[in-house]
């Protein structure tokens, strides 16, 4: 299980690295928001892998909150882009 979790965290880190590069290089606001949303999803996956590794659900409420708040952020910035241009 330890090897599996190390491989999982490595894959998640590479995905998060790619999303971070997209956040930095842009070019538009919409690209950055998409990549930040993906970053949040990868973070949620990391919490799930951690819960699977340790076997207890200590951080699982954080997953629910982050999934909800991430959607709020995305939709609000979508309204901003529509109003102001990307």
């Amino acid at each position: 299980m330890t090897t599996v979790s190390v491989v999982c965290f490595t894959l998640l880190s590479l995905g998060a690295l790619a999303a971070t590069i997209r956040v930095v290089i842009g070019p538009s606001l919409a690209d950055r928001i998409i990549a930040a949303d993906l970053l949040l999803t990868v973070f949620v996956m990391g919490i799930a892998v951690q819960a699977a590794r340790t076997g207890d659900g200590l951080y699982l409420p954080v997953m629910v909150v982050v999934a909800l708040v991430g959607f709020l952020g995305t939709s609000i910035v979508a309204r901003l882009i529509e109003k102001r241009g990307g």
Binding site: L11, R22, M45, A48, L60, A78
Partner: protein, 114 residues
């Protein structure tokens, strides 16, 4: 049981990597929305399924199910909102072959945000 959970976790994490590569490599906003939404939803589903085999207790399992349901509801809605906003702000890339949207301006003076 552990073998099944490990396979599910690895598949989900590989999909997360795939989503990252797609967001980095695709050419315009709409391709990136596509790449960021679908593989990460399926990946989160697989990871939560795999974690559900390994965590103890009804509370933890319920929270995993709640996260999956939340993601499956909010990811398409968020992607649609972002895609609509990007389309009307003129973010179509130069490689777009077909645009069937007939882009009029959205009437944003009526919707009450400033």
């Amino acid at each position: 049981m552990t073998v099944i959970a490990s396979c599910l976790l690895l598949a989900g994490c590989a999909l997360a990597l795939l989503a990252g590569v797609g967001v980095l490599r695709l050419h315009d906003v709409f391709g990136r929305i596509h790449a960021a939404t679908k593989p990460s939803s399926l990946g989160l589903l697989l990871v939560c399924l795999g974690a559900g085999f390994l965590v103890q207790g009804v509370t933890a399992t319920t929270q995993l199910v709640a996260v999956v349901i939340l993601q499956l509801f909010t990811a398409p809605v968020g992607a649609h909102l972002l895609g609509r906003a990007s389309y009307y702000s003129g973010l179509l890339g130069s490689r777009t072959v077909l645009d069937e949207g007939n882009k009029p301006i959205p009437d944003s003076s009526q919707d009450g945000i400033d």
